[in-house]
Amino acid sequence: MKRTPLPLAQDISGKTYWRSLSELAGSPDFVDALGREFPPAAFEPPEGVGRRTFLSLMGASLALGGLVGCRRPVEQILPYSRAPEEVIPGQPLFFATALPMMGTAFGVLVESHEGRPTKIEGNPKHPESLGATTLYTQAAVLDLYDPDRSKSPREGAAAKSWDDAAAFLRAEGDKLRGRSGKGLTILTEAHRSPTLAARLADLRKTLPEARIVRYEPFSRDAAREGARLAFGKPLETTLDLTKARVIVALDADLFGTDGSPIKQARAFAAGRAVDKDPKAMNRLYAVESTFTITGAAADHRLRIQSRKIPAFAFALATELGKRGVALDADLLKTLEGKSGGLDAKATRHVAAIAADLAANRGLGALVVGRSLPKEVHAVAHLINLALDNTGRAVRLVAPFDESREGPEALVELAGAIERNEVETLIVLGGNPAFDAPADARFADALAKVPVSVHVSTHVDETSERSRWHLNRAHPLESWSDVRAEDGTASIAQPLIAPLFGGRTDAEIIELLLGGSRTAYDLVRATWLNAEGAKRTEQDLRRALHDGLFAGSQLADEQVTATTQAAVDALRAFAPAAAEGLEVTFRPDMHAWDGRFANNGWLQELPHPMTKLTWGSGANLSPSTAARLGLKDGDIVTLSGAGASVRIPVVVAPGQADDSVALGVGQGRRAELRVGRGVGVDTTPLRKSDAFELAVGFSLEKTGAVAELARTQEHFVMEGRPLAREGTLAELEKDPAFAQKQVHVPPLLSLFKEPNRRQGHAWGMSIDLNACIGCNACVIACQAENNIPVVGIEGVRETREMHWLRVDRYFQGTDPNEPESIQQPLPCQHCENAPCEQVCPVAATAHSPEGLNDMAYNRCVGTKYCANNCPYKVRRFNFFEYGQPDSESRKMQFNPNVTVRSRGVMEKCTFCVQRINSAKIEAKKEGREHVKDGEVVTACQGACPTQAIAFGDLNDQTSQVSVTSASPRGYRMLDEINTKPRVTYLAKIRNKNPELADA
């Protein structure tokens, strides 16, 4: 194999770095390579590389340590805290970049080992990340190494080179220029990239007849359109819940799927720091049809069908009007007529919530879910304005793009294709053939387009029906930029040269327009020249280093109510019919809209509420299931709107009666080794006029039964004091109520216990009051610690390997109306560890610093330790799970964590590799002790609400010492004398006395 060194341009610092002797000497091969953007080897999938070659490649990259390795991106990228010239083998570097998702962007720091990105952390400076991550940002690194990613452009089924593809695009561009772009349609995702927007603006200039369409299967169109009704212009809503005492979420999954989950969860948790000031605790009402983590975190949750939530919102407005909130009389009159049909319980909630909101003027936030109609958003906008919440907790900013991005766009496009108005269709990302509304029949329409191009990381359902497939670069391997919801701009810098030679959307438009600039040039052009303010090279470097352009967030838009438009729209508003079952469509937790379907980590990540992995189902309330004679796992035919799917029933406590929650994104049909055929494709049921909520559905039992793969089957705590919680009133009466829930007898030990009060004593505290059960910690742990996935069979046999799991218990007497509590459970690192005493070969033993260590290569696998672990946190390699399924997957492994072999027990180590690297740093600086905050465990780092604190318990001033000393603190199963090093802080609910018995 001929290997050519990558050309490296002049470094910003002015130094010239050479990668090899041939580069230095200017060998012909090297000069030849300079002309090409990527060296030939860069296109070779690691797949095709044999083990020996791979090892020699990796060996060579290690040997060339100072030169980072063969996959350094072509252009300069800047490390977050250290310059690239400091690259030392074994020392990770962190680069700031941003990942777009959920209609916003998450600023991240990517850990890179010798040029391989291995782990994603949140960027503390970024307003959407605040140092934490969502589960999807954590999992993105695995997607980068997905062996199923397409390796080259394709025309039909034939693989083509990028030279061919570029020639094709240029020729196509020339043709289109001849007719000023007539017949060209560009379909983009709801992207937020200024560079791509600039390219598309150029395209509009050059090809004025071209049509540009935005589409997102889970768009935030309704919120923007609601603002258009309420204020006369489409606006983006961005929440600052730190300013809210009363938060009302109407079908809004604030901490899960509704956008900006980290920011919102952090602010929510900050308002619940009861140890500081119990009086300042906020109160969250969740009004929702399916049990979300937001509902689980709420102080009061109203279980109600989604189709009734508009009436609920209108009733709330009416009630607020009665309480003297300045809402337009016309509006109130219109709303009053449309707020019927609520049951007594809902009405009580309306009254209580209205009173609470009215009493907390300017300190409230009425948040309407992405999926609710624009009219409801408009009412909420008006309520928030009338309550002075707008501009405080509820901020309104200019949208990135004013065009619609909902299902109508695709229906129109499909119509245009049918009318032969589209000759060239370029689909930039997305997978509309899979996730388009069923009535658009987009997959059929796509096949009729004479020239169709799909830019995608995978040969997916859309690529299969397009003439050309162009392989797209993953966000971690390409230059791009993105604006977050509040306008904060970041440059996305590549961590690695494209593994499979993909390119970015902006580059493809550039090629179409006849240009040849690379993504790097395009991004630089955007930020150096455009956007009004002239920036210097220095500004750019600063932005790359920080991961964002400081001060780039948007200012609040000043709004005045355009009530008449809202009233007109509301008069015309017809709520969804009450007949039949309602069906709500939500992004599947595992696959999102399908884009993560091939991600094993996400597929195996238990759903926070149903604990379902590897699949999807139709969530039904226990009473609806009982009424229809259905049991958990029964496969039913769900039909309505002229279509039907066969799907297993998931009996989900907390689901509204006669309401079915469906995930969209599973049941992929493309060639995906992980995701193909997992779960059920529900897109045939999703029509453009009922894209989020459909009614009139019915269920029919087929008699077949599916074995659902759950990680937790028993949801009742059996009266055991495990995850403890109380109300604010209980806390105020007795702050240490949680400790008194169990009698801990005087505890003795059979063995002489070592002195734990010297040196470090590592410990952790987990605040159940802050934990929202979002699962980010679980997947962060998986990424950090090379934890394998075991597949659907493995989960069915209860052999999942997660070192950290989140236990979820339901409470309450009515299975339909449970309260839920989430409890993250890592190894408790018991000082008196039951596992250690029983291991016959002493493979698990205590470190002097109080860690319960596992010596993998001493373990013979008796599994006695796991039997004797009361917390059941030990995980056994029943098979050779650690073996990656592909060469590329190996590149994700954290080199500082052993990959475990079959027959070996493993479990949470408190991220001992991070502790040791902090200790080494401290030692190098001549310190005896690691300072507080220098060790951040993977779970702690990922936690959006900072529920997890970790550090030295012997240091009285450390954060973990302070939190562990909270009166809410308790140690789980302390009474059996395990002496756990993890302290849980009891959950507190701020109950509204008016709803005490509701």
Binding site: E713, T798, P834, Q837, V838, C839, V860, F878, R902, G903
Partner: protein
């Protein structure tokens, strides 16, 4: 015939008592020394009955199932079993405790009954001891096979190594290693020492050169001299003395695997005596099952009489009642302790998803053996055959109930699971019967299955004073 002098024991004559109690003689039939020798060594030296070959083929087939299962196990990993992260032991350790328990009857018969001068033991002790050794061999499969990394099984032994790493002496599993390996060694030696005079008999009567050489080596040059007998008697007594505490200690230590842990349902102080009683219970049941067959197959009804079987059934009913008491006491203590986890563990056993296993255990171990209070039942061959098999099923379930029902629902409900065995769990367990029967069939074919020299001592012919009456053999039962 120099090798068959009677034992030098002279217990008090209790013929009057025997007559009074109307006890059956220990050995029936008209066998004198010579015919006894003919009969026992004939089994070894002549062609076996055709039934033996059929049974042997069946046993070998089962053994191959075991071998195949173990090969697959080592090749793929213990994930082929139905274990999961909550129930990490199931059929494997159940099988281990089951087989170790079976072994106990042999040691009890050969050692404790010997020390207590229970002469009736002589007809069955050889076979029972053999059963012990084979059962321990079967048991030894599981602690090794259940390891995730079988190839490092030797790390369980305190072998000096370059890393200076010793096993963890706090771990009951390590105690197990010592207990079981000691037990296996002592039992094997005890058995072999007892075989020496009989092996010499076989050597003397062997017609083929090979047999003469093989048995000649095995009998260690036994000549039947007075000095030989003296040493032999002493060695036998010492081994009996050594084995006696093992009967109690081995299963006590096996029970520590559970009792020392903190799992509710395992962490109970009653386990050591309860396990020992259970072990003897199951062991005697196994001896009865085997003897009922063997005496019929080889025409040894005269040596292994109904009286022997009845005595064993008495032991079964006694130990079965003890086990029943233990079950009841466990429940009482669980309730009386006031410990919620403990209470739950036992309520879950009785009423939980594995209640079917619990009630199988109770009916097989406590209820059916009570039928042995009736003399008619305990002397009826079909009845005792059925009950002894039921007891063995029940005792397997006892271990299964203890291990699996305690594990599957312990402290955190979030981790509760239900264990389902895979086909490989079953093949590994049932295959172990292949090993057991293969060894046992080889034993009855190639070694004297009745302790010839001992039995002769209790025949009528050996009692110079008892020739006037058939009923006046020695006995002290």
């Amino acid at each position: 015939m120099s090798a068959t002098a009677p034992l030098q024991v002279d217990p008090p004559r209790l013929s009057d008592r025997a007559a009074l109690l109307d006890e059956a003689p220990l050995v029936q039939g008209k066998d004198d020394f010579r015919s006894l020798t003919d009969k026992i060594s004939g089994i070894v030296l002549t062609k076996p009955p055709s039934g033996w070959l059929i049974l042997f083929c069946l046993a070998i087939s089962l053994l191959l199932v075991l071998g195949g299962s173990l090969v697959h196990l080592v090749g793929k990993g213990i994930g082929i079993w139905g274990l999961n992260t909550t129930v990490n032991w199931a059929w494997d350790i159940t099988g281990f405790v089951f087989w170790v328990g079976i072994g106990h009857a042999g040691t009890l018969i050969s050692a404790i009954l010997f020390l207590f001068r229970q002469k009736w033991r002589t007809s069955i002790n050889r076979a029972a001891e053999a059963m012990t050794i084979f059962a321990v061999a079967c048991a030894a499969i599981y602690p090794v096979a259940h390891l995730g990394r079988i190839w490092f099984a030797h790390w369980l032994f305190p072998i000096p190594n370059q890393m200076s790493i010793w096993p963890n002496f706090k771990s009951p599993l390590l105690w197990d290693v010592f207990a079981v390996s000691t037990y296996a060694t002592v039992s094997a030696l005890f058995w072999f020492v007892g075989l020496i005079p009989d092996l010499a008999t076989i050597r003397d009567r062997a017609t083929s050169r090979t047999k003469q050489i093989v048995f000649g080596i095995l009998c260690l040059g036994w000549r039947g001299s007075h000095r030989h007998w003296l040493h032999y008697e002493r060695a036998y007594l010492i081994f009996a003395g050594l084995s006696t505490p093992l009967v109690l200690s081995v299963h006590t230590i096996v029970s520590f695997d559970f009792a020392v842990s903190i799992v509710p349902g395992w962490h109970t102080t009653i386990f050591p005596p309860y396990f020992v009683a259970g072990a003897i219970f199951s062991g005697f049941a196994m001896v009865v099952t085997l003897m009922v067959f063997a005496r019929k197959a080889f025409g040894l009804e005269g040596l292994i009489t109904t009286r022997h079987l009845e005595n064993m059934n008495k032991v079964i009913v006694a130990t079965g009642t003890m086990v029943g008491y233990a079950y009841a006491m466990e429940l009482f203590i669980a309730w009386y302790s006031g410990n919620g986890y403990e209470r739950f563990a036992f309520a879950n056993r009785i009423l939980g998803p594995y209640s079917w296993a619990y009630w199988t255990m109770v009916s097989c171990n406590v209820i059916f053996p009570q039928l042995f209070w009736f003399k008619k039942v305990r002397t009826s061959i079909p009845a005792m055959f059925v009950i002894s098999i039921l007891v063995n099923i029940g005792m397997w379930f006892e271990r299964f109930v203890i291990i699996v029902t305690s594990l599957h629902r312990d402290f955190l409900p979030s981790s509760w699971t239900y264990f389902r065995p895979s086909i490989w769990d079953m093949s590994t367990f049932f295959g172990s019967f292949g090993l057991f029967f293969t060894l046992f069939l080889l034993f009855v074919r190639y070694l004297p299955m009745v302790a010839l020299s001992e039995v002769k001592a209790i025949t009528a012919a050996a009692d110079p004073h008892g020739s006037h009456s058939n009923d006046e053999a020695h006995h002290a039962a």
